[in-house]
């Protein structure tokens, strides 16, 4: 396959790309045509940082999604350590009554343009624990953007969910319109009906 602007005798070698051309195009894209808000959405959608909060067994698939084979980092997301430096929660599987408090506290600590993905059948509607006395549906505590069905879902579907979330951030302009901490532009934030941390405060 011939690359544009490359001499015939140099073909077959590995090139990074035509950097001058790419820089010119990026300049047109970012400065020439786009509004600042769109740039904010674009930047946010490619810097999603899921927090390390493994609630259940889907965490294994979550970890595999960032392994060399599936390489989740190519989509612009990388699991990071603390809630203060992250803006995405991926809830992996069942949330027990005690873990619900941890989810809520972590969500409250994250800075404002923040998103949530619910992963696995248990996070959707209980899964095999549908009649258990000790679980909480995650959509009762925090607002969920994307649901991933499956028991457990494949790592590819985690990547798909992240790409879906990026698309919705760009198309709805969620990040740029989210100026106030507690007011989300496209939908209301969930206020939990039950106090999930009552056991902790004593």
């Amino acid at each position: 396959m011939a690359i544009e602007g490359v001499k015939a005798k140099e073909q077959g070698k590995v090139y990074v790309g035509n950097l001058d051309e790419t820089a010119k195009r990026a300049k047109q894209l970012l400065i020439g045509r786009l509004k600042l808000g769109k740039a904010v959405d674009w930047a946010t959608s490619f810097s999603l940082w899921p927090v390390h909060l493994t609630t259940s067994c889907c965490g294994c698939e979550f970890a595999a999604a960032w392994s060399p084979r599936f390489d989740g980092e190519q989509f612009g997301a990388l699991p990071w350590v603390g809630p203060r430096q992250t803006n995405l929660i991926i809830i992996e599987g069942t949330v027990t009554r005690k873990m619900a408090c941890a989810v809520k506290v972590t969500w409250d600590q994250m800075p404002a343009p923040k998103f949530a993905i619910a992963m696995g059948a248990c996070a959707l509607d209980g899964g095999i624990f549908y009649n258990s006395y000790n679980i909480v549906r995650p959509w009762e505590i925090i607002p969920i953007d994307v649901y991933i069905p499956g028991c457990p879902p494949r790592p590819e579907s985690v990547a798909r969910a992240i790409v879906d979330l990026q698309r919705s951030i760009r198309s709805k302009g969620i990040a740029s319109k989210w100026v106030e901490e507690g007011v989300r532009p496209d939908k209301p934030l969930v206020a939990p009906k039950q106090d999930v941390c009552s056991w902790w405060r004593g």
Partner: protein, 170 residues
Amino acid sequence: MVEGLRFMKLSEEMVRVVIEKVKKELGDLVKSVEEGKGYISIKVPLNRLREAAVKLKNMGFDHVKSLTVTDYKKKGVFEVMYMASSYLDEELSRIIVSLTVEIDRNNPRMPSLSDIWTSVEFQEREVYEFFGIHFEGHPDLRPLLLVPDIADLKPLTKDFIVKEEPIFKS
């Protein structure tokens, strides 16, 4: 293969020796005995449970592997089993001795063994939250895994009814 079989036979004989030793040690405390393969369940009266536990501890049974409760709703009793074994004594580590007591289901109270075997402390807390059995003399009797308001429901007793969706209905 033959070597393995000979070893099995030998160890079975050894187990029998240990079981006889345990029975002899406990003596008149034993109410009834059930035997399995490498396992012996000794039923003792509730008021002499601590005495039997001290005797087993002095023999060399240094830890409790598990603490199990069975709920017999029709009989009106909880059957509590302490399964003790040994790490340090090689001869005793071949078997598991279970101390079994029956307690009243409506007033579930029994003495704690956590000062004799330290390893039962967390297991007694777990039994407390799932069955509501009060262990008298326990140093820190709080629910271990469950939220307090769920622990009040005693979710592993037969009284707690789990909601189920009718899947096949004729």
